[in-house]
């Protein structure tokens, strides 16, 4: 199907790239259908609303930038997403003005069931993870040397 996006104009997406988010996303509770559009040759992927061309999010494979990242998917979320075997995990990226300070949300990963194409932004209570974790934390250390 052809969908409208503000970044690429009208583009064609395959049916298998469309995911249903029954509860939407926090802050965007009425957006239920999104297409996953890979950003070629990168670990990043776009989550594009099918309803709202202007609405898209940049997602990243969090394990690539935070190799120690781990969590137990709560049983209720697993059941809600009807996850049997396959699961995909992404973190939402916030691009900051100073791009090297860009962050990803490890507290609330986007969890997908690629078998039945459902998704949810899961909140990891008591995990200690934050909504703004630096993607490139080493640069923070470097820039802090002079400042603090």
């Amino acid at each position: 199907m052809i969908i409208q996006t503000s970044i690429w104009g009208d583009i064609e997406v395959q049916e298998q790239e469309i995911f249903h988010f029954p509860k939407g996303l926090p802050g965007f509770e009425n957006e239920h259908r999104f297409a996953l559009i890979p950003w070629e040759d990168t670990p990043f992927i776009y989550l594009q609303s099918l309803q709202e061309p202007e609405l898209s999010f940049l997602l990243v494979n969090p394990f690539l930038f935070a190799p120690d990242y781990s969590f137990e998917l709560p049983e209720a979320d697993r059941e809600e997403l009807e996850i049997q075997e396959q699961v995909q995990v992404y973190a939402m990226v916030t691009i900051q003005k100073q791009v090297s300070q860009s962050t990803m949300n490890l507290l609330a990963p986007v969890v997908l069931n690629p078998e039945i194409k459902t998704g949810k932004q899961v909140v990891l209570h008591q995990s200690g993870y934050k909504t703004r974790c630096l993607i490139w934390p080493e640069e923070q250390l470097e820039s802090a040397k002079g400042g603090v």
């Binding site: 926090p26 999010f57 940049l58 209720a76 990226v93 691009i95 860009s102 949300n105 507290l107």
Partner: protein, 81 residues
């Protein structure tokens, strides 16, 4: 907003499915127990608000910022082991 008083051990029922019990009161902290169906998501308000805020900030990144981000990524690509 409905306002009512409860003592320790007493509870409130919402829509016959959600039960909220006051477990303990210590100083200005109230410990609450919530029983609800699995499909009901329960969050601490400030945590939900912080996720909403982060999502709004992440939404529709500007093309110029994405371009700068991509550039940053290309530069780090070689460095990453």
């Amino acid at each position: 907003m409905l306002v009512l008083s409860r003592k320790k051990g007493e509870s409130i029922i919402i829509q016959d499915q959600i039960e909220i019990t006051v477990l303990a009161v210590e100083g200005d902290t109230v410990r609450i127990g919530i029983s609800a169906p699995k499909h009901i998501d329960i969050y601490r308000q400030e945590i939900y608000a912080s996720i909403q805020e982060a999502n709004r900030e992440s939404a529709a990144p500007l093309a110029a910022n994405v371009e700068a981000f991509m550039e940053r990524l290309r530069n780090s690509g070689a460095k990453k082991d």
